[in-house]
């Protein structure tokens, strides 16, 4: 929830928004939303993301959100689109952060005394961005529950797939953010609605269709692998291999902690052992194929442990 703290500025922003005060739903989409939507809409037409641009876009969107009222129906469109764009901006910024990355000037660093924190390498604030993405996605999904068709028809340009596609993207990004934080909340709900993502035959096309960036794909495979462990260990294993081999397959590696967790499940946690169909060698961390037959890990088969 946002509150305006400066009445003078409230007036200035109110005027700049123009039609925001109109009781009608139809209003011109504000520039910050259109700019941010170009960046986050996904697919080949999405604008390239310039480093440092995220902070400016987010501040503009948050200013818009602050000028709205939570319960005012006339503000629903602006609240939805600012929340939607902020959710996607923050999900993207988890790997390219713009939130403050280190502490206030008096931060005590324990064993290490640092006189000048400007010399401290900024640590990516992945957690902060993932939480902000979840927060905004939750607000956007909540607004979608009203099923107001005019909510989507706002940008003055077609929204591919309409409301269904937007809500699917929000649910998947939220589930993935929880997964990256180490929690499984909302994962089952999001994945149960997207059977195309759970099949090795269709997942790649699904990710392309939804404009899921290569950087997020190892995490998507990690999440699907977790989800399938209870129902289909062979497919869960193959998605685990896709995530582990993220660098080769998507150009982006999964963090080491994620790789270790997947390998621990493959080697110890699963009910099955995964072996080469010819040589029966087991999965070997750090390798991509059987050292005897040369068959890739991805093609290994499950046998009862």
């Amino acid at each position: 929830m946002l509150r305006r703290s400066h009445p003078g500025l409230f007036l200035a922003l109110f005027l700049s928004l123009g039609a925001c005060g109109s009781p009608k739903l139809k209003q011109a989409p504000p520039t910050p939303i259109l700019e941010a939507y170009d960046v986050v809409k996904g697919g080949p037409e999405a604008t390239a993301y310039e480093s440092g641009e995220g902070a400016r876009l987010a501040l503009g969107l948050e200013g818009l959100l602050a000028a709205t009222q939570k319960s005012a129906r006339k503000d629903a469109q602006i609240r939805f689109w600012t929340s939607y764009c902020l959710a996607l901006l923050h999900a993207r910024a988890a790997d390219d952060p713009f939130l403050a990355a280190h502490g206030p000037a008096w931060l005590d660093t324990g064993a290490l005394e640092l006189g000048d924190l400007d010399n401290l390498d900024p640590r990516p604030n992945e957690t902060g961005h993932l939480l902000a993405s979840i927060d905004n996605a939750t607000r956007a999904l909540s607004l979608m529950r009203r099923q107001d068709p005019e909510l989507i028809d706002f940008l003055g340009q077609p929204v591919p797939g309409g409301a269904k596609r937007l809500s699917t993207r929000l649910r998947l990004l939220t589930a993935m953010s929880f997964t990256r934080l180490g929690f499984d909340k909302r994962v089952r709900d999001a994945l149960a609605r997207t059977p195309e993502l759970l099949s090795l035959d269709t997942y790649a096309e699904f990710l392309d269709d939804y404009g899921i960036r290569p950087r997020l794909r190892p995490w998507m495979c990690y999440m699907v692998s977790h989800y399938l462990r209870r129902s289909d260990e062979t497919t869960a294993y193959r998605f685990a291999i896709l995530a582990i081999e993220g660098k080769d397959r998507f150009g982006v590696a999964l963090p080491k902690s994620g790789v270790l967790e997947l390998e621990d499940w493959i080697l110890r946690g699963a009910n099955s052992r995964f072996v080469c169909p010819q040589s029966e060698t087991e999965y070997l961390p750090g390798q991509k194929s059987s050292p005897i037959s040369g068959i890739p890990h991805f093609e290994y088969v499950a046998v009862r442990r």
Partner: protein
């Protein structure tokens, strides 16, 4: 280097307030933090575990009951403290590890 953080639901980060850092703010606060704050040391076995408080700097925010008001440019944002997430960077024999704990049930289970 100790790196405990409290993340509010909007991504705002509150940093751990150590006794040493508190000295420059208030001697009384530093004393309270020293007496009641959790000591960061090697963890004992779980049967011998002891509770303790973690204090965080609220610089840039105002706390009102269970809500935080976070300054953001020319406006401020009201966020529910119950949806906050605690993050600790701990050292283990296998290397550094991040532990995240939800303050309330906004998070189902964590690692």
């Amino acid at each position: 280097v100790l790196d405990a953080r409290l993340y509010l639901q909007d991504g705002t980060t509150l940093f751990w307030a150590s006794p040493r850092a508190m000295e420059s703010q208030s001697k009384a606060l530093a004393k309270a933090v020293r007496e009641h704050g959790l000591r960061f040391t090697l963890l004992k076995s779980w049967e011998l575990a002891e509770g303790g408080y973690l204090f965080f700097s609220t610089e840039g925010t105002r706390i009102s009951e269970s809500y935080a008001l976070v300054s953001r440019g020319d406006f401020f944002r009201e966020v529910d403290m119950h949806n906050a997430l605690l993050e600790l960077n701990v050292s283990t024999p296998d290397g550094p590890r991040v532990v995240r704990v939800g303050v309330r049930n906004s998070f189902d289970s964590g690692s």
